[in-house]
């Protein structure tokens, strides 16, 4: 029960009035970010990161992770009320959430969505509490080849689990790696791929990429569609909440299944979106009222929301225990750790106990506070979406520009942000996934370091990747995932696959 002791110490760290205030501020900002078009979890946290440079790391991560929870909650609001998924993983929530809102049951749908989000996150945090220290302890024994094989697994699983052309996933990923290698080489100190431009010495910061790709790119996409918000209004009063809560226990089996799917998929990168779709599909198949899914079934909101939130939370496990983030937002949080002078990875659990357990404790509290905040303030946030796009759009572009500038106080970064915005728009339209690019940009240097160290140990022999059972099995798994598009084609030749009925709706992310 060492973990429980540590956890209670964590609660003691978190429970200061200042931290509690930051938590509420974070949640409110997060919901706001989740609701606004063009701002999402990843770029929202990226923009607000510079504001935390002067805070102490524990307070800073509490606020930033609460922004993340808030953004996860916020995605549900736009899905249910406006039929616009704020984040890719809330697409599945629109299937039943919006029909419910059309029938005047918006309050019920939102209460169901928020509560099941909370349940999913809670189950995932419990899992993190007990699993993360174990994984970290295990990973302490890792050497460079093991770490590189885990990086390999992370990136290969994008190819294996992703949707769309594997070449596009690969291209997006290697663009990230290529951009990451621009600038000063960490080992030899040489300038790499700058082609004589001194401004490029700093390299491309992934925060700039995140702000541009997700922020500006999203605005351009919304603009193309000529977005006009027309939403349903929602009133949540205690009576509706209470009545919905009375209905929810009936879906316990769905909730448990969805949480498990979410946790499993969340640990692998880019898992929240497939998790929500998978959970929705399975719930539809197994539910007694499955045939009515899509017409406004509460269970159809519970399933994807629980899974998405569980996955979003579980994505923090590899970030904390291994230093390898499972989602772009987790990547931004990891970037934050580096800026505050903390070295992410297994040693974090040994050297920065207060920080780690403070963060885990804040996950419990943050989600609880988040649930209460969103249940009480939905009408306020829904009204924000009614502000016309021609006011929102320039303000968001200004916020993005400020965010990009504050990262390094460099004017050139604002230009890069604009460039990344155009790239983001093109890639979104051409179905290139953006998450691999961001993750490769964040992890590029570290993956390269572990690769070079492994090669130094073996004097250039690739066989070191199979030198012991552990590293060998991780590498093999990675290669299987990398070749999965080919393997699944071969399997399809032998046995025709079942048709995935939501394949068309699932976004590439």
């Amino acid at each position: 029960m060492e973990e429980l002791n540590a956890l209670f110490q964590g609660f003691a760290v978190v429970m200061t009035p200042m931290n509690f205030l930051l938590m509420v501020v974070g949640i409110v900002l997060g919901v706001l970010i989740g609701v606004l078009p063009g701002l999402g979890g990843a770029n929202g946290v990226a923009i607000l990161l510079p504001l935390t440079f002067s805070m102490n790391p524990t307070s800073a991560i509490i606020m930033l992770s609460c922004i993340y929870w808030g953004a996860l909650f916020g995605g549900a609001i736009t899905s249910v009320l406006f039929n616009i998924p704020g984040e890719p993983w809330s697409v599945a929530t629109t299937f039943d959430g919006y029909p419910m809102a059309q029938q005047g049951r918006a309050g019920e749908a939102l209460t169901g969505a928020f509560t099941s989000s909370f349940v999913g996150a809670f189950v995932a945090v419990v899992m993190i509490t007990f699993m993360a220290p174990l994984v970290a302890k295990f990973a302490l024994k890792f050497g460079p080849p093991e770490f590189f094989s885990v990086y390999l697994l992370t990136f290969c699983s994008f190819v294996g689990m992703g949707k769309g052309s594997p070449f596009k996933i690969l291209a997006s990923m290697t663009i990230g790696f290529a951009l990451a290698s621009v600038g000063m080489d960490t080992v030899t100190g040489q300038l790499r791929l700058t082609f004589g431009f001194h401004e490029l010495m700093r390299g491309f910061d992934f925060l700039i990429a995140v702000i541009g790709l997700f922020g500006i790119g999203e605005i351009l996409l919304s603009m193309e569609e000529g977005l006009a918000f027309s939403g349903k209004s929602a009133k949540i009063d205690p009576k509706v909440v209470w009545q919905t809560w009375k209905k929810l226990p009936a879906y316990w089996a769905t909730s448990i299944r969805a949480s498990l799917i979410g946790i499993w998929m969340g640990i692998t990168p880019g898992g929240a979106t497939p998790a929500s779709f998978m959970s929705y599909g399975i719930a539809k198949k197994l539910s007694k009222t499955g045939s009515k899914f899509g017409t406004g079934e509460l269970e159809g909101v519970v399933a994807p929301e629980t899974a998405a939130h569980a996955a979003g939370t579980a994505a923090l496990l590899p970030m904390l225990a291994l230093g390898i983030p499972g989602s772009p937002t987790a990547a931004v949080l990891l970037g934050g750790l580096l800026i505050w002078g903390l070295q992410p990875g297994p040693l974090l659990f040994v050297e920065q106990k207060d920080f780690v357990w403070g963060l885990i404790a804040s996950m419990y509290l943050g989600n609880l506070v988040g649930l209460m905040v969103v249940l009480t303030t939905v009408p306020l946030f829904a009204s924000i979406l009614r502000i016309p796009f021609s006011i929102i759009a320039p303000v968001i572009i200004v916020i993005c520009a400020i965010g990009a500038y504050t990262v390094h106080n460099a004017m050139l970064d604002i230009w890069f942000m604009l460039l990344f915005g155009v790239i983001g728009y093109m890639f979104k339209k051409l179905d290139y996934p953006l998450a691999p690019l961001v993750l490769a940009l964040v992890l590029g240097d570290k993956a390269e370091d572990s690769f070079r160290q492994a090669m130094l140990v073996s004097q250039g022999e690739m066989s070191i990747m199979f030198s012991n059972p552990l590293v060998g099995s991780i590498t093999t798994l990675a290669l299987v995932l990398l070749l999965w598009p080919l393997i699944s084609k071969l399997i399809a030749l032998v046995k025709p696959p079942k048709q995935d009925e939501f394949a068309a709706e699932r976004p590439v992310d």
Binding site: I175, F177, L193, P394, R452
Partner: protein
């Protein structure tokens, strides 16, 4: 989305896809070239600075070729119009002013440029009245100014011609 099939004119999606793939290949070749120059070989003290980027460039070229093949010779070609004239106009109506705005930041600083940008965006694209637009633009930027310069003490770009220097920040 479209009601009149005939009115949608523009370049097919798979052509754009191919162009982007060619750009990816060019980028990959540049990376390979750059890392060859840095030394992608094994040096006396281990792998050279270009060792890892070299392979990255190689994969980049391979995936670019793959996308190019799928776009032009694949079984399912996406010949839908990539973006029609009207949508393109809407996108450019945001992108071009944004570029002008970023250029303006360089000279007159973030606050002044932002205020002008928000106001003009609202007046021209949003068809709001002058008064309302200017009030909102000023209000938003006052909030930002207070937040960054005063409360969080994060100085933002003031530009070559700082018009707000009288404020003392």
């Amino acid at each position: 989305m479209e009601s009149h099939e005939g009115e949608r004119t523009g370049v097919a999606t798979n052509i754009i896809d191919a162009i982007v793939a060619i750009l990816v290949i060019i980028m990959g070749s540049t990376v390979i070239y750059g890392s060859r120059k840095l030394g992608s070989e094994w040096t006396s003290d281990g792998p050279g600075a270009g060792y890892f980027p070299f392979y990255i460039g190689l994969i980049l070229v391979i995936s670019g070729v793959g996308v190019l093949y799928q776009a032009l010779a694949g079984k399912v070609k996406n010949t839908e119009v990539f973006v029609d004239r009207e949508s393109l106009g809407r996108v450019l109506s945001v992108l071009v002013p944004a570029a002008v705005y970023v250029a303006a930041i360089q000279f007159i600083g973030i606050y002044v440029a932002s205020a002008i940008y928000i106001a003009l965006f609202m007046i021209i694209l949003g068809k709001y009245s002058w008064l309302k637009s200017v009030i909102i633009a000023l209000a938003v930027n006052t909030v930002f100014f207070m937040m960054f310069e005063v409360w969080f003490k994060v100085p933002l770009h003031k530009g070559t011609y700082d018009m707000l220097s009288f404020l003392g920040y």
